[in-house]
């Protein structure tokens, strides 16, 4: 494992990591450094080869859903052919999950790798426009740096498809695909209802390809080194490497590039049986440490505890914090970040958040837990987006994983001794429609 913060130099073999992040550590790569490390992009006059190679590589989306990348490209290409309409390609760098830092880190350190992938994807589907959509408030000056990176490429004539930079509002849902399309069309960054899928009709009605920033960076490397190289790390079913954000109790969060299938133990260290790991962030799953120590970082393994790799967020709160208080704070944030468009989410999430707070502060009533279970069921699958589903999954996993702590709270006690919040929660929530723009 190599980390962005330590950036230890490693041998240049196919299986060594990192592949995406520069080995020089924290120093951002400009065009020259990028070309020195990776060289030119291949097969630009045979754009169809990218889809074949992505299929052979088995690359899946690294934004959380793990959808096969080649299938998304094929769908957009087919829609464009059928409707004789040039598609639009969007690099999604808006990692709105507050606990995640991997796309921001990648865009800061290796913007050209993402822009290479954006270019290749655009050429592969015959797009005439490409957009890099990202938060610009997560890193000092990242917006300016990305603007510079795009200008560097224009100066050397690297790109055939012009790239525009677009800013995502600081909302939890702003990276959701339909919210992103709505925002780029000049509206608020709130989800819209499907069908039609955006691969059919997205931005301004054009077939639209949205790929996570990290997914595009992997594409840029698969184009250069081939699918066989990509598969030299990871598992057969889930090949390659992925960026993870790891927040351990004892230190600052760090971003690491690790192979799929890596034991969680080697990522988060040995944890005592009274601890828990949050896998996948605030739409993710709490897993007891005893289970986590036996699992590996791939969906096949995590399915055993109902968890998913997601966008690679792993959080192990310190033992002096109350997990219920932490979860209640995160769920309150999720409720406030609901776009409020769908009845079940609008009604359910605030009630779920309030009930969880009752439990956390030791004021739960006899029916509180039953209410929570029922509401979690009622909101699942009933929104235009998966915000209610993800929130319900997170809450249910807390009810199961922290059952003993809930019992303690019911008797007026709490195992937490520090009130300092550990899970990162943004302070501001949306008040008016302007906050979604």
């Amino acid at each position: 494992m190599t980390t962005a913060t330590h950036g230890a130099p490693a041998e240049d073999t196919a299986t060594s990591l990192p592949r995406l992040l520069p080995r020089s550590g924290q120093h951002p790569e400009d065009w020259h450094a990028h070309m020195a490390r990776h060289g030119r992009l291949p097969y630009r006059d045979r754009p169809g080869d990218l889809i074949l190679d992505l299929s052979a590589a088995g690359l899946t989306g690294r934004g959380g859903a793990a959808f096969p990348a080649h299938r998304k490209l094929s769908a957009v290409l087919d829609a464009a052919d059928k409707r004789r309409r040039p598609p639009v390609v969007i690099a999604n760098g808006a990692e709105s999950e507050p606990a995640s830092d991997k796309d921001a880190t990648l865009l800061w350190l290796a913007p050209h790798l993402v822009l290479d992938g954006l270019q290749l994807a655009a050429e592969a589907v015959g797009a005439e426009a490409a957009i890099l959509y990202t938060h610009t408030d997560r890193r000092n000056d990242v917006g300016r740096r990305l603007g510079q990176a795009i200008a560097e490429r224009v100066a050397v004539g690297a790109d055939r498809v012009p790239v525009q930079l677009a800013e995502a509002p600081p909302r939890f849902l702003s990276g959701q695909e339909t919210a992103l399309v709505s925002h780029l069309a000049g509206g608020p960054a709130i989800p819209t209802f499907m069908p039609p899928r955006i691969t059919e009709r997205g931005l301004a009605g054009a077939p639209t390809l949205v790929q996570n920033a990290e997914t595009l960076a992997h594409m840029a490397l698969i184009a250069r080194h081939g699918p066989r190289w990509f598969r030299q790390v990871g598992t057969t079913a889930e090949p390659g490497s992925m960026l993870c954000t790891i927040r351990r109790a004892d230190g600052t969060p760090r971003v690491a590039e690790v192979p799929l299938g890596m034991p969680l133990r080697s990522l988060i260290g040995d944890l005592g049986p009274d601890r828990a790991v949050l896998i996948g962030g605030y739409h993710g799953t709490w897993v007891p440490a005893a289970d986590a120590m036996r699992l590996t970082l791939d969906n096949a393994s995590l399915a055993a505890v109902g968890a998913r790799v997601g966008a690679g967020i792993l959080i192990t709160p310190p033992p002096d914090r109350c997990a219920l208080t932490e979860t209640a704070a995160a769920v309150r944030y999720l409720a406030l970040e609901s776009a409020g468009q769908c009845g079940p989410c609008l009604n359910g999430l605030p009630r779920i958040a309030a009930a969880l707070t009752e439990i956390a502060v030791g004021r739960q009533r006899r029916q509180t837990q039953a209410d929570l279970e029922r509401w979690a069921g009622l909101v699942t699958g009933r929104g235009a987006c998966h915000h209610p589903d993800g929130t319900a999954r997170f809450v249910r996993s807390a009810l199961i994983t922290f059952a003993a702590e809930i019992e303690l709270h019911r008797r007026g006690r709490c195992s937490g001794t520090s009130r300092k919040a550990f899970l990162p929660i943004p302070r501001d929530s949306a008040r008016t429609e302007e906050d979604w723009m």
């Binding site: 209802f193 769908c342 989410c345 009604n347 009622l378 009933r382």
Partner: protein
């Protein structure tokens, strides 16, 4: 070809007309929003399903060919 019911949860304002006209396939949750049975509509209920779709004041309910 069978059809299924699909509700657009953004458009749905919880008027409840659909659940009144097609209680066999649409229940109301405790907040007044429809819980729609997503299985193919049995032939015997097709008329009522169409009535429910046309009765929705916000045009949130539709039939989807499957």
């Amino acid at each position: 070809m069978s059809e299924k019911l699909l509700v657009n949860p953004i458009e749905c304002a919880g008027h409840g007309a659909c659940a009144e006209l097609l209680p066999e396939m649409i229940a109301m949750d405790e907040w007044g929003y429809p819980i729609v049975d997503g299985r193919p509509i049995p032939p015997a209920l097709e008329r009522d399903a169409r009535a429910a779709v046309s009765a929705c004041p916000t045009l949130a309910l539709r039939l989807l060919r499957s």
